[in-house]
Symmetry: C2
Subunit: 226 residues, 2 copies
């Protein structure tokens, strides 16, 4: 019996604007609409960012609250995952919406380079976000932008900073971070089996790598991020 | 015929103070003295930081110039490697001494967490340090604190930002970065063979991992950092 494949839909992200792609959902009603279509098509997790009216990324808890309300009404049973990613705010702002108790939230446990800057996740912020997720019983999706992030997640689970079992997402294809490399993908899968044997994982290929990485992931027993 | 093993001695580092270990060489004459002892014992590379009079790390080119002068006189033929690490300065300060044309300089090509902070190596700074090393014909020692840093070095060599062949150091055992993990070490070695087949590598285990990682490294055909 094959295990069910979880499809995780990232409806908006924090970067693309309407000028890049007029189909990017920006307003809350566009986001709810777009998520509902994915939900009907079988997606089971919604990874959500929110935006300001000028399309810039936001970490405003009020916007997250309204998104949660809309999605719970339109997509019953869908797992809602809030982004705590660094593009939407600085420091503890990034976790200001966790008290809304989404089902899941993204959690970066290490730092790495992005195309033009450092993606900063200082150790004390990581620990604080993880503790908020324990407090509000939110399941983290660990964003593994590099190999050591899987090791760090295993360590945090072993010492109680994260609840078991872990859910890890391999992020591949971000310029200046880990490329979409098949050998690394296979090693990530082996590392998960070795360090976090009861956990689940998924993989996200960024930009032109999306389809390829999804194929690797589904074939290897992981979940897929669109 | 086995290839000669390069022993790289890091005489001072940027963190320990006299109060931690009275034997840490701080002044230039202490550094030259200590390096000379390692040179006599067979070390072939000296990885050097310089300090201010109050023992804090410095990036003062004048201090590096005097260190270079002292070492060239006392340890003829020893390879001198200047640190461009982030503890000694911010931004381009970190490379201000490269015009002194040391034989080598350390180069981080990605960012990662350190025990209490983010080790920030933004992409534009990495590219600038690499270009200075090309200009002054300095051989970089790539500091691989994580797996993607090896991929980044290979990419930078392929597109001409680094001169071939690469010399990579695996850094293991830093809290919140890559642990001293034997399986990862073996995968690093395979990754070097796959992505940078003509390169050399060494491995540094931090603190209590030093001896263990050196043993792995020498046994696997790499060089050793003390
Ligand atoms: Zn996201
Ligand atoms: Zn996912
Ligand atoms: Zn150093
Ligand atoms: Zn070395």
């Amino acid at each position: 019996m094959s295990k069910p494949c979880i499809i995780c839909v990232a409806i908006t992200g924090s970067v693309p604007r309407k000028s890049d792609n007029p189909a990017v959902p920006i307003t809350l009603s566009e986001q709810v609409e777009s998520t509902h279509a994915a939900y009907e098509a079988g997606a089971s997790i919604c990874h959500a960012h929110v935006r300001n009216d000028d399309e810039t990324p936001s970490s405003d808890p009020e916007k997250f609250a309204r998104l949660k309300e809309g999605l719970k009404a339109h997509c019953p049973g869908m797992i809602l995952q809030f982004s705590t990613g660094g593009r939407s705010g600085a420091g503890k702002e990034r976790g200001g919406m966790l008290s809304l108790r989404p089902d899941m939230a993204s959690l970066s446990v290490g730092s790495n380079n992005f195309p033009t800057r450092v993606y900063e996740n200082p150790p004390d912020l990581v620990d604080w976000l993880a503790s908020e997720m324990l407090t509000y019983q939110i399941k983290p999706e660990i964003e593994a932008f590099d190999l050591s992030h899987i090791h760090q997640a295993a360590k945090m689970q072993a010492d109680g900073r994260l609840a078991a079992p872990a859910y890890v997402q391999f992020v591949m294809g971000v310029k200046n971070a880990m490329p979409a490399d098949r050998d690394v993908f296979d090693y990530y899968v082996r590392t998960m089996a070795r360090l976090l044997p009861d956990s689940e994982w998924c993989a996200a290929g960024i930009g032109r790598h999306q389809i390829e990485v999804n194929e690797w992931s589904v074939a290897a027993g992981g979940h897929a991020r669109t």
